[in-house]
Each structure stands twice: as structure tokens, then as C-alpha cells.
């Protein structure tokens, strides 16, 4: 969807304004005014409110155009939003909007109450007020199930009156507003809110033109509206792609080395880089996917994260693109690795030339030019409100913690003096069991997608795995693993078939997240017990090389197997002592 085809007003505005988070007030006026004249477009937006909506309507139009959406805008009569919403035959309803923006402010929230009104009575008054909004929302949505509502979340009036005493009196406008905001959010899980907090009240603008905030705040309003628009039209940004040198640390890792980069408490600058890393990490905890896009040698670049004050670890980045080629290519590869669209990436870099290149080559990427003062990086990144959302889902939080668990495990790895103490530190619990039901489906999934730890790459499908599980002469084992950082779930399986005096491993696979955690000997012990129970004398394992499974070429020799066919087949006696099969995993789940 691009406004270029057939929507010249939106296309003109977009090409004049680009995607910069904050167009100037003049541009909002000029292009917004033209956009109000659009008769056709991709999104019908009704702007209704208790205040002058003329400027908001222009800002909304400009914001939509910047998001590559050609708007058709309707403005309700001044102050008549409630009647317009409740009357199913109003001009607003007849306009049949896809989106309704409700421009109300504290004047439509605060009830005049005596200052000594008790808290419970204030809450009741607020609840009544909120119920009125709920009725209006429902009436607006009654027209169309797909219709979305963007409701301004009011902010407190500017007047401080008697200061702190206001905040201590629940009935004061400022105290009421705090209650009102929370109640409104709770009452509208289906409503998209646009927070007006910080859009400064301007008495002159109010008295002169009934503007809800100073016109200087219009650019900021555009940024906020665009953020909400992205959220409700499935255009939310998902990935933060970061440069390394002079972005995540001060200096050039390739020249200055780990000891030479600025990161940590030593200088104000180093502290600012540290704070920026913490900020990125906090975004990750909220479901934003981090990526590195840097011109560097990958091995040297990664050493930056071993700096003692690095908040971020290499494992925090599900995509890590370091190459000397141009960064547009890097961003395309990141999108591919993460299986997301290029337009869901926000790219942040200190270098204006790199930013310019991305703006030119990948205009769909949101580019944040960080500049040369690390203290302002967080502010620059927040300006566009790229990652804001109306609520965090369980998946968002899980995405964050899954990556975090990996990162912490990796950090523990670098802290530990040697492998055995690292593995002990992980406090691992594992279970090996005969797979059935859903576990069989999961194993078929692993068969399909595991490339590295996959001995024979058999690619058994669901039915085949179930077939093995049902055969008296065969068995399918699954293994789960958990450690102090998280539960990995079912991450390994063995399919084996009895042949003569041997239990022959048909295939063994393991998710790459957990290899070298001593799960291999742990599982082999369970398999030996199965063979012993069946009265079999040997376990036979085989390996079929592929371009990707090199990592397990020596698995069987490392587990005490003897070669019977060079590089391809090994055996181990079931009765042999098992002292060599050392594991740091305790039984349990």
C-alpha cells in the first residue's frame, strides 16, 4: 500500500516530509490543509472533539501520509463529539470512518466537586464520567466491527493552585485526573490511547483558538499519533538494529581493543554509553528484538561485549551482522534472519553518512541518527516513539526473557573459570522418557528443523515417529532440560531399533541451544538402561555427514564408543562401566 498510486496529496506530503519523526509546524499546516481536501484515500479518519480540531485534523493527516497511508479526513462540528458518537445517523456515522480520533482533554474529565469530597465519592464521580465515555465508544463501534478508536488520554491541567495540597485532595482537578487516567485505561482494553501528558497547555492558544495545547507541540503530536497509528494498523516496529563503535561503546573496538573502549563508570561519556546499553536491554525485556548492524570484523566486534561493564552480551542479539560491505545489505540479512519485514526495523547509528545511505536505499526503515553525544542517544531514539504499544502480551514478555535467559547463560559461561564449574553453576535438571502424544509431534518438528546436532538427518515426519514409538522392537526417547535461567522444554530425541544383539540408534538430535551441556552422556545412560532392560549387548551408533552436521562427527568416540566402520559406525558394550559418562544434570523437571 503506497499513496503514490492515485493519491497525489498524500504522496506529495510524504515526499516533502519524509519519515522524520517531527515535521515542522509550518509543514503540518501547509500539507495538512491540503490533505483535508482529499476525497479519496486508504483510511477514513474522523476527528471529533470538545475543542478545535482543525489543527489536530491537519496533524493527523500529515501523520498518516508519513506512514504511507493516504487519509480521507472528516471533522465533526465543534464540541459535538458526544452527540455525533451517540446519534447513529450523525454526519460522523454517515462518513463511515475506519478510525475515530476523540480529542478530549481534562476539561471533559474533571467534575467540579467540593475540595473536601472523600476519595470514595470522587472515584464514584470519575466512574460515572468514564461510563459516559464507554457508551460513546460502544456507540461509535456499533457502526462497524472493524472501526478503531483513538482516544486522547487527558493530562492534568497546568494550574498548580495550592501545590502539593492539591495532590493530597482527591477532589482537586489534578488528583481527579490521576484517578481518571487509570480508570479510563482500565475501561478501554479495546481502545487505542494517545497520551497527551507533556503536550503543554498554552492559555493563549486556548483562548485564541481553542487549541488543546500549544501549537509548538504539534510536531510532537504528529510523532505520538503516528506511533498509535502504527500500533493499530499492524505496522509496529519490532527490531532495533544498532551500530557498535561509538554507538554501544565509545571508540573503535578494532583500533582501541576491549580495554580501550569507553563503557562504564569511568567517565561521563563512558557512563552514557553504559546507560544506552541498559536502555536497549530494557527494550529487549519488553519484546523488542535487538540486532547488530556494523562495519566490523565479526570476531573482533563480539569482543566488545566481553568488556567488564558491558550490559549487553553477544547472545542478546538474535541477529548479528558484521561485515565490511554496506549496511543496507546488513539490514536486509537481519530481516531475513529474523523473518520480519525490512519495514519493521529501526536502525540507530552515530554516523550521519550511514544514516543517509539507509534513508536512500531502504526508505522503509526508520533511521535514528544518534549524533556524537551519547548522553542524548536515548532521547533521540525515543523521539519517534517507535516501540510504544498499548499493552504487553505474554509473548512479548516471553520473547524478552527467552533471549535474556540465553544471554545470562552466556554471561555465566564467560564468568566461570572452567567448563565443569560453569555446568554445575547452571543447576540443570533433565528428564529422559519414552515419548508419546504431543512429545512425538514435537520430536517430528525437531527432526524437520535440526541441522547441526543431527546424526543421520533422517527427517522423520510425524507419522513415522509415531510408528517407531508403537513398534515393540523400537523406541523413541525424548529429553527435557531446565536450568536456573529458564526451561528449554523438549530439546533432544533418540530413535533406536533393536537388531540382533544391538540397539541401533537410527537418529539422535539435539537443539543447538543445549549442546555441550553434558546432556549427551545423560541421555546415553538412559539409553544404556533401555538396552539392558531388553537384554541387548551393544549400542550401535552411526553418522551420516552433511554440510551442516560437522559438530557431531566425533560424538560417538567422545562418548566412549569404538569404531566399527571408519568415521561412520561405532559401538559400545552395554555391560561396560559408565564412569566415563560424566553429567552435571540432575534428574528432574
Amino acid at each position: 500500500m503506497s499513496p503514490d498510486g492515485g493519491f497525489p496529496l498524500a504522496a506529495t506530503a510524504r515526499s516533502a516530509l519524509g519519515t522524520a519523526p517531527k515535521p515542522t509546524p509550518v509543514n503540518i499546516f501547509v500539507h495538512g490543509t491540503r490533505l483535508l481536501g482529499a476525497k479519496e484515500g486508504q483510511l477514513r479518519i474522523a476527528v471529533a472533539g470538545a475543542v478545535t480540531t482543525d489543527l489536530i485534523a491537519r496533524a493527523v493527516g500529515v501523520g498518516a501520509a508519513q506512514e504511507n497511508i493516504a487519509p480521507v479526513i472528516y471533522q465533526g462540528p465543534f464540541g459535538a463529539w458526544r452527540q455525533e458518537a451517540l446519534d447513529g445517523n450523525s454526519a460522523l456515522h454517515r462518513f463511515a470512518p475506519d478510525l475515530v480520533v476523540l480529542v478530549t482533554d481534562w476539561r471533559d474529565a474533571v467534575v467540579e466537586l467540593p475540595l473536601n469530597t472523600p476519595a470514595a465519592a470522587v472515584e464514584e464521580a470519575v466512574a460515572t464520567k468514564i461510563a459516559g465515555y464507554r457508551r460513546a465508544w460502544d456507540a461509535l463501534r456499533a457502526g462497524s466491527s472493524g472501526r478503531r478508536i483513538v482516544q486522547h488520554l487527558p493530562a492534568a491541567p497546568a494550574a498548580q493552585l495550592v501545590g502539593i495540597a492539591e495532590l493530597r485532595s482527591p477532589a482537586s482537578p489534578r488528583a481527579q485526573l490521576a484517578i481518571f487516567r487509570a480508570a479510563m485505561l482500565a475501561a478501554g482494553p479495546d481502545i487505542a490511547f494517545l497520551d497527551t501528558e507533556g503536550l503543554a497547555d498554552d492559555p493563549a492558544a486556548w483562548f485564541g483558538a481553542k487549541l488543546p495545547f500549544a501549537q509548538d507541540n504539534l510536531p510532537e503530536y504528529v510523532a505520538r499519533f503516528r506511533s498509535v497509528l502504527r500500533q493499530i494498523t499492524g505496522r509496529a516496529k519490532k527490531v532495533l538494529a544498532l551500530d557498535l563503535d561509538n554507538t554501544l561503546w565509545g571508540g573503535v573496538i578494532g583500533d582501541d581493543g576491549v580495554e580501550g573502549i569507553a563503557l562504564g563508570p569511568d567517565t561521563p561519556k563512558a557512563e552514557a554509553f553504559h546507560a544506552f546499553q541498559s536502555y536497549a536491554k530494557s527494550l529487549a525485556a519488553r519484546g523488542v528484538i535487538l540486532a547488530v548492524c556494523s562495519k566490523n570484523d565479526p570476531a573482533i566486534a563480539a569482543t566488545g561485549f566481553s568488556h567488564p561493564h558491558s550490559v549487553l552480551a553477544h547472545a542478546d542479539f538474535p541477529a548479528f551482522e558484521c561485515a565490511w560491505t554496506d549496511k543496507a545489505g546488513g539490514l536486509r540479512r537481519i530481516a531475513k534472519t529474523l523473518n520480519v519485514g525490512v519495514d519493521s526495523i529501526v536502525f540507530a547509528d552515530d554516523n550521519p553518512a550511514e544514516c543517509a545511505l539507509i534513508r536512500e536505499q531502504l526508505p522503509e526503515v526508520a533511521v535514528v541518527e544518534l549524533g556524537d553525544d551519547p548522553a542524548s542517544f536515548i532521547g533521540r531514539l525515543e523521539e519517534g516513539r517507535w516501540f510504544e504499544s498499548q499493552g504487553l502480551s505474554a509473548e512479548d514478555l516471553a520473547r524478552g526473557s527467552a533471549y535474556q535467559a540465553r544471554a545470562q547463560a552466556a554471561a555465566a559461561e564467560s564468568d566461570a573459570a572452567d567448563l565443569p564449574s560453569f555446568l554445575k553453576n547452571l543447576e540443570m535438571r533433565g528428564r529422559v522418557f519414552r515419548a508419546e502424544g504431543a512429545a512425538l509431534t514435537r520430536i517430528a518438528q525437531l527432526e524437520g528443523k535440526t541441522n547441526q546436532f543431527n546424526l543421520n538427518t533422517t527427517r522423520h515426519a510425524d507419522a513415522a515417529i509415531a510408528g517407531f514409538a508403537a513398534r515393540p522392537d523400537a523406541l523413541v526417547l525424548g529429553a527435557t532440560l531446565a536450568d536456573k535461567f529458564g526451561d528449554h522444554g523438549l530439546i533432544s530425541s533418540i530413535v533406536a531399533v533393536a537388531e540382533g544383539d544391538a540397539l541401533v540408534i537410527d537418529n539422535w538430535l539435539m537443539s543447538c541451544r543445549v549442546f555441550s551441556r553434558s546432556l549427551e552422556p545423560f541421555m546415553l545412560r538412559a539409553l544404556l538402561a533401555e538396552a539392558a532392560a531388553r537384554g541387548l549387548a551393544r549400542i550401535v551408533g552411526s553418522y551420516t555427514p552433511t554440510p551442516k552436521n560437522d559438530v557431531v562427527a566425533n560424538l560417538y568416540p567422545s562418548l566412549g564408543f569404538t569404531e566399527i566402520e571408519q568415521g561412520r559406525r561405532w559401538e559400545r558394550a552395554v555391560a561396560a562401566p559408565t564412569d566415563d559418562l560424566v553429567s552435571y544434570i540432575a534428574e528432574g523437571s
Partner: protein
């Protein structure tokens, strides 16, 4: 301050370009004749737009109180002239 004072014809020239920017349908040469009645789309918000463009272009503050009484190129020209002298 007399050397920084703008000559009337400079104000006219710059204001004409501003009109053309706010109302692309108004040619620069035609701008001095523009009034609220003759220019399509000239409402009070458009006046505000003109004020903002002038504030930006001339580097002055015009405020809101004269918006209602500004109904023609000439009104705005006079306002600018008074602020710039």
C-alpha cells in the same frame, strides 16, 4: 534600528511567497489582491498558518489576538509593517 527595517516592497515580496506557500493556487504575482472572500480554503486556521509562516520567515512573534481581524493580504501586510518597524 533603521538599517534593519524592511522596505515595504521587500515585505510585499516575501509575503507574496508566503501566500503562495499556504495557498498553492494563489500565484505570487496575484497574492497582494488576496482576501478571505476570494481565496478558496482561507479559513481562520489558514490565517493561523499564514501567521506561523510569517513568524518563521520574518523571525517575529505575531500571537493570536489579531487572527480574527486579519482578512486580506493587506491586513497582514499592515500588521507585519507595524511589527517590523
Amino acid at each position: 534600528m533603521s538599517d534593519t527595517k524592511l522596505a515595504p516592497e521587500r515585505i510585499t515580496k516575501r509575503l507574496s511567497r508566503i501566500f503562495n506557500k499556504a495557498f498553492p493556487s494563489v500565484e505570487v504575482a496575484e497574492a497582494p489582491n488576496a482576501t478571505m472572500d476570494t481565496v478558496q480554503g482561507w479559513d481562520s486556521i489558514a490565517t493561523l498558518t499564514l501567521f506561523m509562516l510569517c513568524e518563521e520567515d520574518f523571525g517575529i512573534k505575531l500571537g493570536y489576538d489579531r487572527i480574527a481581524e486579519t482578512k486580506s493580504f493587506n491586513d497582514l501586510f499592515k500588521l507585519l509593517e507595524s511589527k517590523l518597524s
